[in-house]
Amino acid sequence: MNCPSPITHSMYADGALAAREALLLEQHATTCAACRTRIEVLRQESVALRLALRDVEDSAPIPRFAPPARARDFVVLVLGVALIGGFSKAFWDTVAAAIPSGLEWLNPLESGELYERALSVFTFIVYEGTAMWTATLNLVGAALVIALIAWLAVTAVRPRAFAAVAASLLAIVIALPSIGHAFEIRRSTGLVTLPAGETVDDTLLAAGETIAIDGNVNGDLLAFGRSVTVRGNVTGDLITGGETINVEGTVGGNVIGGGRGVSLLRARVGRNLYGFGRDVSVDAAAEVAGNALAFGEKIDINGRIGTDVKGFGANVTVSGAVEGDVEGFAGKVTLLPSARIGGNLTAHVDSMDDLEIAAGAVVGGSVDTQLVDREQRRNRYLTVRYYMNQVVRLGALFLSGLLLLWLFPVLRDASFPNVGAVLKAGGLGLAAAVTLPVAALLVCLTIVGIPIAVLVFALGAIGLYVSKAVIAQIIGRSVFRAPQGPPHYAATLITGLLIVVVAINLPGIGGLANFVLTLVGFGVIVSLLLARLNRGAAV
């Protein structure tokens, strides 16, 4: 027999040769020294190779395994944070009751009703979150531009993240309205009109520089442009954004408007008005059957409001007729002589002088002035209450943070490898904080969308709230840079939170610090969620 091929030798050394062939080779090897040597060499080689392959320098740390997030975790988080918020609030109420002149300003919706209770607990939980969103919504027009820029920045760094966000937004915008009803889009760079006499029998989306709606829309109207004028009839909701918004026609549903100026001129609104802008006004000839909720610098209520008015702004002026209550959170609340208020008037102002009721104005119920304590505002660092408030705040954030880190272990190891990562997270956080309410507003268009929008709002608000815990964890970890690794996450969390709470209370820059830290933390949460989405999609 000739010497077998090198392949046969190799297979024999690996024990992979069939029994008959192996026997033949063994017989041959008894008489062939060369083959014996080869087999021996190959055997040693296998052993050496096995050892060498396993001998990889592997001191790289084992990253934490992040089990996929389940819906249950989110529910637990939401319930947990709500519970912690509720307890903190209850605790605070007890403490506040023990301290003279309680902190009513912290609880602006004081009332016995369950709904308002829940709302006030929620306000407490998302104290920072809602404040930020109020600011964001006030600037919705400008914010869209910022969002676009932030998005472009994100696109440059993470094309897949952009794709995921864009695709989901597109899906929301395109798919959801079509479930409910048909959709008509009118778009132009210049003028978009719906002439008088013309009727659109479904939802109309109008976008352009100038939008003039004189005809009828038998559905919802979404109008976004520099100048939006609605003189026709809209049977559904009117959702609009622009520099100047004038409503002179009839709207069967709600009016949700954001812009520099939002005016109801001769409008008839079947349900509520939600106005966000520098100036929000309801003209003498205008009528809102439901509530009017207005955020702005200058709020003028001159027309008729069927239910309550809630105004948040520098100046809230009422000169019209309000069937229900009026509540103003403002620098100045003014009732002109023509004002007629059926219910109570509550003004949350700095001093008694900031509520002005002209002679001739009528308030059916009680007049209440809730003072936002000036003393406390000016010298807040000198009051016990202030520090107690911070302790409660810290405690609530710590418990919420612990819950978050326990549920989502991947957040425990979050870190910033470089400054770019911080900027990226901040940009992403800003983009998400701006787009979330816009997306929520858009999904509000359909009936099925409303619960989704509420969910988006709630999750977003809780996300903004706990984002400070996330950033605190990152800061805490960088403080404990020990060779044996960081201590338990509770220790790093509380350390980081102490630093964060001090930072956001610094005079002067505290507000900015709060804003930046919240956005960066939010960005970390969003980027981790996106990374998970991407990995899921890439596999």
Binding site: I7, H9, F65
Partner: protein, 170 residues
Amino acid sequence: MTKEAAFAEAYTAHYRQVRGLCRQLLGSAERAEDATQEAFMRAYHAFASYDPAQPFAGWIMRIARNHCLDLLRRRTTERALFGDEAEEAAAAEAPGEDGLGTVLGAERAAAVNAAVAKLPERYRVPLAFAYYADADYDEIAKSLGITRTHVGVLLCRAKQLLRQSLEETP
């Protein structure tokens, strides 16, 4: 012990081994990291079907192996991946007097691994299967969708190329 805790324990215990396999199969530490996470993610989802009587190592290594193969296949077609058997067989050579065994002291492990990482995929993959994952020829043949002899040819060639590569870099 809860399912989560059991899995977390198994994860820590086997992570490095799985990452090693992925690294040998994919030839890149970075891609290995991702592949390892994904393998464990797959294992996590399939944990209910895992039979605790079987060793966890074998199970997770099989998942990782299959995932890496999927990744490799996605980049290239199978034929191109493992080449032509006859052509390869013709090029096969036996080791000289001193094969890898004699030159491979512990201090040369790094050099071997570097050489392995540089091997073309069609050699590196069966090599990692056979000498890292300790899979037998039948298993490798089945996983790669090639014949048993083809596996033998590829392994023989792989070792031959390794020898050449290591001789060049003493």
